[in-house]
Amino acid sequence: MTLTLDKQLELHRMMMLIRLFEEALEEMFSRGLLHGTMHLSIGQEASAAGACLALDKEDLITSTHRGHGHCLGKGADPFKMFAELLGREDGYCRGRGGSMHIADLSNGNLGANGIVAGSLTISVGAALSFQMQKKDNIVLCFFGDGAVNEGSFHEALNLASLWDLPVLFLCENNQYGMSMASDKAVAGESIASRGNSYGIESIQIDGNDVEAVFESVTSFKNEILTTNRPKFIEAVTYRYRGHSKSDRNLYRTSDEIEYWKEEKDPIKRYIGKLIESGVTEAKLKEIDEGVKELIRNSVKKALDSPMSPVTNLEEDSYA
């Protein structure tokens, strides 16, 4: 598969957007502007950007507690995301969801989820709708390596396979579920082999290679639609920050973190590749400046927007 230059620049821009969005959040957090905690995906941008940009708007995703990247990848407006984290009326959930619970139905994002593996069974149900409606779309279900050990994972994969559902399971294996190294938590050969054991074709890829992610999602999507079988991708990646804001990082070495930052950073690697293939530094700079300005403006607009009014929350609990 050869990507157009436009697509390549889009992939780069999206990774930059995710990174700068989260760096802006970190700064807001340190300034005491945010209530609660959050889970940053800094270092993991390639899987979100590569996977989401391989989908159509009508394809659906389900996401996780670490979902800012998925949300942006699927086309969310950073202003409305910042507004959500700040408890503003213009936020995606009107201040009711916060960092862990952003949904963006208009762009095909069924929502982030605070329950590990909570969205696995939901993705299966959404895929069932596509099947019943005879739509040519898939559901891409993001989850972490930690989710693989929940009973929900098992029941969801088993059913998706039995019922030939159009779902692409995408495990972002950042090698830790909180403090738990994934090889101490997942018995058997590998996460991808788990997928295979349900009769679901599964592959392991370099989740920090944005084009590899883009290409495997693209080709698996096609295969899902032609063969009517679910598929499984294990994308190996790494998170630089702590699990959440209270993490002291005792379960891994700083050498390990440094190694991933220096040698494997998805953005740095992709810039190298783009420049090698002839993209100018000026071009990239132009993109990056655009992203920076978007983030700056979005933060400002969000901070200026009105707090979510206190409505009758008991009434809001029912549709």
Partner: protein, 327 residues
């Protein structure tokens, strides 16, 4: 007007829903060729095919979870828990997902699912197949909880539960599967306003008995016993236990000034304590002439032996005694 058990009337309601709504489907364990553990879905596989009547593996978590995902994307799932006791395996999709997503996503999604479950004791099925767990779901904001007591309201309440835009837990007491009555097969209603409305199962002026699910039938038996023929007792069948129709309870108590609540479930943190508590928190505290009473199941797992089982579940004699104490 056909004579049907509640199992059969629910079957009719399901069939009507499936016929009128192409987006509706059923999923659950043994609901196809087996026709459901209690025969409720008999014949539906033949009528609607396996695309609409979906037999699942024994996987309650994904049964409820797929309902959530399907309902968010334009389908209208009605799923079955073979025994309500197995809903323990589906608590995440029901409680953390279905109940919360509408609110949590700021109103952006609805989760209109119906989770049917065969509930209650009296069949000798012992501790893990006899529970009445409706009270848990009443504690969870975002859910509605429906508890029919007979074939007619089972039919009507199921149609309304389907029409509702919220997740509904629909608890079918196993003993109502066994009683036949004449049922009017109403069309699917335009809205779900029938949910949340109690019905007066019997009018009276001396005492109000509030009950729900199969216990309404036990209350009726108690009230028709010879000992009570000189009294006029009102029976309120809640029908929906979340939300509870306090308006009807209030109107009844203004008349009778005495409250007895009867349920099969144990008392602590239950529908019954909710009714008593809400009543006495209100102006009705001064209307009540005597202390309200709650007759409920013992705080004990359900034993298997028949004579022990009936010790745990309130019997008509227990209700009679309670009424006599209060009159």
């Amino acid at each position: 007007m056909p004579e049907l058990t509640a199992g059969q009337s629910i079957n009719k309601a399901l069939s009507l829903i499936l016929e009128k709504n192409q987006t509706a489907f059923l999923a659950g364990e043994d609901i196809g060729i087996y026709g459901g553990a209690f025969g409720v879905t008999e014949g539906l596989l033949e009528e609607f095919g396996s695309e609409r009547i979906k037999d699942t593996p024994i996987s309650e978590d994904v049964i409820a979870g797929l309902a959530v995902g399907a309902s968010m994307t334009g389908s209208r799932p009605i799923v079955e828990m073979q025994f309500s006791d197995f809903i323990v395996n589906a608590m995440d999709p029901i409680v953390n997902q279905a109940a919360k997503l509408h609110f949590m996503y700021g109103g952006a999604v609805n989760v209109p699912i119906v989770v049917r479950a065969a509930s209650g004791a009296g069949t000798g099925a012992a501790a893990q197949h006899s529970q009445s767990l409706e009270s848990w779901f009443c504690h969870v904001p975002g859910l509605k909880v429906v508890t029919p007591s007979n074939a007619q309201n089972a039919y009507d309440l199921l149609l309304s539960s389907y029409v509702d835009t919220n997740p509904v837990i629909f608890m079918e007491h196993k003993l109502i599967y066994k009683v036949k009555e004449n049922v009017t097969l109403n069309p699917i209603p335009k809205d779900s306003s029938y949910l949340g409305k109690a019905s007066i199962a019997q009018e009276g002026t001396d005492l109000t008995v509030v009950s729900y699910s199969n216990m309404v039938n036990v209350v009726k038996e108690a009230v028709s016993m010879d000992e009570l023929q000189n009294y006029s007792i009102e029976i309120v069948d809640l029908q929906t236990v979340s939300p509870i129709d306090f308006e009807t309870i209030k109107n009844s108590l203004i008349k009778t000034k005495k409250l007895l609540v009867c349920q099969e479930a144990p008392s602590n943190s239950s529908v019954g304590t909710t009714v008593v508590s809400k009543v006495v928190e209100s102006d009705l505290f001064n209307v009540l002439e005597i202390a309200p009473k709650l007759v409920s199941g013992l705080h004990s797992p359900m034993p298997s032996a028949k004579h022990l089982e009936s010790t745990v579940i309130p019997q008509k004699e227990d209700i009679l005694n309670a009424i006599q104490d209060m009159l």
